[in-house]
Each structure stands twice: as structure tokens, then as C-alpha cells.
């Protein structure tokens, strides 16, 4: 135990068991054990025994409040224990000052980005399209670009299976199929954290999930291209096939490349890791 632990007045349990005196190695510690107020000129006087501290007031509560308090105490104790037993290096500088360093960096980044937006708006202003006319359907119907993927998923009709048990009928209408495809895509993205666990962070450490990611990015691009197939100068059947082929190609290439790079990366990473933290 270091000295900082023994002077920590926030641990009555240890004081009660008398463990503190033992860990000090016989050296008398009058400042913390004597119960006398420390006259070190700070003007801070420990509360006398009759004044209930916040901790003591919480200790007297009943029911759920009491349970909450007990849990928090346990959690704190656990943290403290983990901190004591680990050889983790605590930061020895306080931090980067918020003002002016951090604020000026943030302000310059913000003004750069806002300037970027203003530059774009000045050079590429929006068009004025024809007014709404329910009686004429235009040749090109489009949502904004960020909804192309969703619009593309509505055009998955050819993938809607015709079931033999229904006598070649489709289980659901093509457009229902497309709307459900949207839900499936969003749902799959939502459960990613529950499928991919573990501490791997970099793509090289998890080639499979990086490949899945690349698959998703390319699919988002190709399904967007499919949604505007009348504007893309490719045969529509070829485009439909490419929509599903390209993501797999990209995914496989990513997997192969990362798998190849992995050994070298992990080797240098581990070397650096173990040099700083030799195995016991």
C-alpha cells in the first residue's frame, strides 16, 4: 500500500478493521488516526462526529435508496481495488487546457466546416423544379440521394421468391417485399454490436467484419445505382446482377487483403505491446 492510500480519509472500513496500522509497517500516522483536526493552514477542518456527513445520511436511508447506496459503495470499492492492484499508469499531467487551446482549435474547425458549407451553397445553388402537377407523371421520379438505397430496395421484385406450395404465387406483393427489405437492412445494422463482440478494433484484427463492412458500403452504392437505373448507362439486367455481385467481390477482396496483412500487423503490434508490458 502506498502513502496516498493510507491518507485517504474516505475509507472508514479499513480504519475500523485496523488494517491501516498493519500496512503502515509500524510507522505511526498521527495525522489520520489521531482524530485531531489538522492545522495545516488550509482552514479545512474535518467535520466533527456529531455532524452527519453525506455518507452517513445515505447510510441511514431505508429500502431502495439504501440498496442503491450499498451498490454504489460496492462499485466504488471494486473500482478502487482494480486501480490499486493494476500497474496502470495514471496521467501525470492534468489535461490540455480547454481555453484557449481546445476552444480555438474547435472554433477554427467549426469555421472551416461552416465556410465549406457556405462555399458549396454559393457555387452550387439548388434548382427550381417545375411546380407539382398530379396529372402528369414526370419521366424521372427521385428522392434525394441519401434515400436512393431505400428506393433501390423497393426494386427487388425479381428476388421475391415464387413459392411452389402457393402454386407459383408470391407470398407477398413486390412492394411489401421491398419495404420489408428496408426493415431487414436497418435491423441487421442495429444488431451488429451483439453479433461482433470482443476487443478487436482495427480492420486487420477482424478481417471478416471489415469484409462485411465493405460489402455493406459497396451494396449501398450499387443499390443506389439500381434505384436510378434509367439514368445509368448500363443494361438493366447487367446492373441488377452487378448490384449483388460487386459487394461480394469487394468483401472477398477485403477479406483476402486483410488476412494477408494481419500477420505482419499483429506481429509489430504485439512486439510493441510486450516491450512496454512484458508478460509475467
Amino acid at each position: 500500500m502506498s502513502d496516498t492510500d493510507t491518507t485517504d480519509a474516505d475509507e472508514p472500513d479499513r480504519a475500523e478493521t485496523g488494517g491501516r496500522a498493519m500496512t503502515d509497517g509500524g510507522e505511526p500516522d498521527a495525522e489520520t488516526d489521531g482524530g485531531e483536526p489538522v492545522a495545516d493552514g488550509t482552514g479545512i477542518v474535518a467535520p466533527d462526529d456529531e455532524t452527519p456527513t453525506w455518507r452517513e445520511r445515505k447510510e441511514r436511508t431505508q429500502g431502495l435508496g439504501r440498496l442503491t447506496y450499498e451498490y454504489f459503495e460496492r462499485a466504488r470499492r471494486e473500482d478502487q481495488d482494480l486501480r490499486t492492484e493494476s500497474d496502470y499508469i495514471e496521467r501525470d499531467v492534468l489535461a490540455f487546457p480547454t481555453w484557449p487551446h481546445e476552444m480555438i482549435r474547435n472554433l477554427s474547425l467549426t469555421s472551416f466546416f461552416v465556410g465549406l458549407i457556405i462555399l458549396l451553397s454559393a457555387t452550387l445553388p439548388p434548382e427550381m423544379a417545375a411546380p407539382a402537377d398530379p396529372s402528369t407523371t414526370p419521366a424521372i421520379i427521385l428522392p434525394d440521394w441519401y434515400l436512393y438505397w431505400s428506393f433501390g430496395l423497393l426494386k427487388l421484385g425479381p428476388l421475391n421468391p415464387e413459392l411452389a406450395i402457393l402454386g407459383g404465387e408470391k407470398l407477398m406483393a413486390d412492394r411489401t417485399y421491398g419495404v420489408l427489405a428496408n426493415l431487414v437492412v436497418v435491423g441487421v445494422i442495429a444488431i451488429v454490436p451483439f453479433l461482433n463482440k470482443g476487443s478487436a478494433r482495427r480492420p486487420v484484427e477482424q478481417p471478416f467484419w471489415a469484409a462485411v463492412g465493405v460489402f455493406g458500403v459497396i451494396f449501398a452504392a450499387t443499390i443506389s445505382a439500381l434505384s436510378i437505373k434509367n439514368l445509368v448507362p448500363i443494361d438493366s439486367h447487367l446492373l441488377f446482377d452487378l448490384t449483388f455481385l460487386l459487394p461480394f467481390v469487394g468483401g472477398f477482396i477485403t477479406y483476402a487483403v486483410l488476412k494477408t496483412m494481419r500477420e505482419g500487423y499483429m506481429f509489430s503490434l504485439n512486439r510493441r505491446y510486450y516491450r512496454l508490458r512484458p508478460p509475467k
Binding site: 461552416v114 428522392p143 441519401y146 442495429a190 510493441r272
Partner: protein, 264 residues
């Protein structure tokens, strides 16, 4: 025994016997005045607690400890995408509020008030063209930044424990951003808006079981009318701003609490 009320805690006397600067005196006066009415002292412990929590130092991060900063700083521009989308959101909110002064969500008129007011903003209003341009571009930039932000989070594995909930919250936010964009796309009530709205109605009608109900709720019917435009308008300027702003605050609050996940 005098009739004059004796104060047990003579704060005034205490202040006078001390040699206070005017600033200190004014501060104490205000503090005592507030404390007599609101019992500020009772909350001091909470404030103190918060103060120390804010100033808590995290242990050295993985990148710091193993000298991997280059891996973090190299990717720093990608780590700014979240704040970039927030900035774009703020710019869109300001320019959108200004646009709201001149826009009227009505399909009446020739061809429609909505279209005419947008035309007025674009042609007659001073800086109106620029204003609409800024609003539109900040919306585009926000959507793009949110999408790239999601990719960054995916490829650096930042969604893993303990950040799963924030990942799901992020998916809700990106969806709401798209709804934001979609409802805004419909507001000028031009051909593109109208037929994009038509697709929206058909998509909602395609939802099994609750399709008709959703179409009624979001579009105010099965064809595009004044009700549709008004619903999109309220969604765009009233409902979504509150919901999205609150969710962004929670999203950023959680990031603040948990710290930024670095690849390691």
C-alpha cells in the same frame, strides 16, 4: 428582552467584520439572498460532486500507453465527422428558422402557395437564394457526414461494449435525419416533391397490417393534398427538431461519459 428580532446567524454582521472587496461583498450578498429563498446550500454537495466528476481524469488510454497515437491522429479527420454533422445541423436550424419567416405550407393558389413562397425566396428576397442554398447544402452535408460517421464507427469497432446502446441510438438518429431530409424535400411542392411524396404514400401502404394507418398518420390520406404538406411541414419544423435535438444531446452526452473509442 427586546422586541427586535434577533437573528441567530447574523450574516450581515459577519460580512461587515470581514474585509471584503466590492466583488466579494456583492457575490456574498447575492448568494445569501438566494440561499435564504432557495436553500442553495442543500445543493452544494451535489454541485461539488459534479465538479469533481467533471474533473476526473481517465487513466491513460490505450493509445497513449503504447505509443499508438499516430494511429489515432492519422484518422483524426474521420473522428471529427460526428461534430461536423452537429455543426451542419446547427447551420441548418438557423437558416431553416430564417426560411420559415417567408414560407407558407399551403397547396392553394396558382400553382401553390408553398411553391410561390419558395419562388419568392429564390427570386425576390434579399439573400434568399443564398439562404435556401445554405439550408439545402447544410442538410446534404449533415446527411453525408452522419453516414460517414457511421462508417468510421463501424470500421474502428467503436460500437462494441460498452457502446452498443449509443450505436442503436445512432441508427435511430440517422433514420430521423433521413426523415428530416425527406419531409424537407416535399416542402417546395414541386414535381420532384410531389412524386417523392407519392412514393412515400405507396411505401407506407405496402407495410403489412398497419400500412393504411401509417399512411393516414404521416401523409394525411392516400393521395397528396394540403393535409400531406401540412403534416410534412409540422414534422419538419416542429416535431423532428425537438426529438432530434434531444436525441443528439443524449448521443453526445453518452460519448462524453464513455469517452471516445480509439482503435487499438
Amino acid at each position: 428582552m427586546s422586541l427586535e428580532r434577533k437573528e441567530e446567524h447574523d450574516h450581515k454582521g459577519w460580512m461587515e467584520e470581514r474585509d471584503l472587496t466590492p466583488v466579494e461583498g456583492a457575490y456574498l450578498t447575492v448568494l445569501i439572498w438566494l440561499d435564504k429563498r432557495l436553500r442553495v446550500v442543500d445543493y452544494l454537495e451535489v454541485l461539488e460532486d459534479l465538479y469533481y466528476k467533471v474533473n476526473l481524469q481517465m487513466p491513460k488510454s490505450h493509445t497513449e500507453q503504447y505509443n499508438l497515437d499516430n494511429k489515432f491522429w492519422y484518422w483524426y479527420p474521420l473522428y471529427a465527422l460526428g461534430s461536423f454533422s452537429t455543426i451542419a445541423y446547427v447551420v441548418a436550424a438557423i437558416s431553416g428558422a430564417l426560411l420559415g419567416f417567408y414560407y407558407a405550407p399551403a397547396t392553394t393558389g396558382d400553382p401553390s402557395s408553398a411553391f410561390n413562397t419558395v419562388a419568392f425566396i429564390m427570386t425576390d428576397l434579399n439573400f434568399g437564394y443564398m439562404l435556401r442554398s445554405i439550408h439545402r447544402w447544410s442538410a446534404q452535408v449533415m446527411t453525408a457526414a452522419v453516414f460517414l460517421h457511421m462508417l468510421r464507427v463501424y470500421f474502428t469497432g467503436a460500437y462494441k461494449e460498452p457502446r452498443e446502446l449509443n450505436w442503436i441510438l445512432g441508427i435511430v438518429l440517422i433514420s430521423l435525419t433521413m426523415v428530416f431530409g425527406y419531409s424537407g424535400y416535399l416542402l417546395p411542392w414541386n414535381q420532384l416533391s410531389f412524386w417523392a411524396g407519392q412514393i412515400g404514400v405507396e411505401m407506407s401502404l405496402s407495410i403489412p397490417l398497419i400500412g393504411e394507418w401509417v399512411a393516414q398518420l404521416l401523409f394525411g390520406g392516400f393521395t397528396l393534398t394540403q393535409a400531406t404538406l401540412l403534416r410534412m411541414y409540422i414534422l419538419h419544423v416542429f416535431f423532428l427538431p425537438f426529438v432530434v435535438t434531444a436525441l443528439i444531446a443524449v448521443h453526445i452526452g453518452i460519448v462524453w461519459m464513455q469517452g471516445i473509442a480509439e482503435p487499438h
